[in-house]
Amino acid sequence: MTNIENIFLKIGSIDRRWIFIIIALVVVVPLLVPIGLPIRATDTSKSVYDAVEALPRGSKVLLSIEYSPSTKPENHPMAISMMRHLFRNNHKVYVTCLWPDGQFMAQDALNQVAVGEFDKKYGEDYVLLGYRPGGEAVVKGIVSNIRKLFSVDARQTKVDDIPMMDEITNFKDFDFLFSASAGYPGTIEWVQYAADPTGVPMSSGVTSIQVNEVMPYVQSGQMVGVLAGMPGAAEYESLIGQKGSATSGMDAQSVAHLVIVLFIVLGNISYFIDRKRSRKY
């Protein structure tokens, strides 16, 4: 028995660089050699899908991009899947950004989906309005008068010259809002200053870290469903039936989680052995 205990104690005190190497391996190996585990959608992801699916064709949807490259692996697949879903159903997509880097992310996703896959027309099917600094004040400005805040779009074209902007003056003219958010300003500000005061339905895709901050909104119906982190993005990819980068990351994600759980268990075993021994002496 003591031998086994000693082994556990020894494992418990290894240099943490070994742990770093193990983590690097369990992430890289499944990326190179995929297993292809089946993905099942959670209820909150399904409600997002159902809400978008229920919009009548040709609805005006505001898509807000609020993340930077640092959380790209989590948010970008959501934004891409959402665009695919919207364009496939022929909705009009208006893209705004509350984060400075958001407009690069938006540009990237639009180039890939709107231009590359669906061949949509800029100014008629979609428009990138761009970034404005100010956080909640920008949201308030969009609710009050979007044309004043975004007098020009990201390409410096005047909004008066953009055909699809004709029927838009403020937030109430939109039928749905989807925010791909990584923090402040983001989903919370949209709920507080746009969705709650106007009653326009909204939904959101957030980073894993943020999920718990928005869950009460989802449960109380202030938001329709939520996509939670990279697994949420993978679920959405499987719901719209088009796989992407989130799905291919899921194997690595699964294995890494298992390994971390294993670490917690092993760590606690050596902790208990340690405690038992120190009590004896």
Binding site: V27, I39, D43, G135, R155, M215, S254, I260, F263, G267
Partner: protein
Amino acid sequence: MFWKRQVPIFIVALIGSITLFGWFIDQPDVKEFIGDDATQWFDVLASFAIILGALNLIKLQIQKVLYQKPGWQYSVIAVLGFIFAIVAGFFVKGVDDSVAQWGAHVTSDGTLFKWMFDYVFSPMSATMFSLLAFFVASASYRAFRIRNFEATLLLVSGIIIMVGRVPIGGVISSWFIMYLIVLGLGIYVNSIKKDTKVTFVFVAVGVSLVTIGGIISGWPVDQPGIFYLPSIQEWIYYYPNVAGARAIMIGIGLGIFATSIRYILGIERSYIGE
């Protein structure tokens, strides 16, 4: 003193009450000012604040170089990086006017600014964050201990979320979880009874009950639901978790409300450094 102290307090009180009570006023001129112009001013000042922050940071780095403080060589790199970004932002566009005019160059493809974003800014900010994956792993190994009941609750709910939310959680059979629970309870029984026989009988009975149940029902992966990780995960996530998160949310909401009111009334003045 008047300019440095009273005026800012007055500005906060004035602007604060205008925006707060503006929510209730339905008069076109007032509404337009609060909804559009006041927010625009806010946005303009927010941009100035960003610029101020950036300049402040660079000022500190330059000071470090000038006074040759320890590690000043690295500050030279920071300053060079800043200069590079400014050049890309204001002086060298990298494309013709026909491709992108000044102003549109910060988003258009092919510009120097976009190159900097794609290959310098973007990889670094992403990598900085992903370092944390490694620290989470080593901390989960060395620091996350079941010290008391609260910590146990936290770790168990964390583990269920972690495994139940990813695809692999759906592959783990609920019967496997039941066996684990029986074994876990066995360890618990052993620690109170301190009798190997009792433990053995307990575990044996538990294992056989689960096995019989499994044989009768034909080992379905997701039945019974209360032992299937994705279902437990979904429940924790949508009910007890929301209850806890909501308590925190209300607390934070009240805290922010109270602080905002104190700002507007001039009770709280920490923003002017008091």
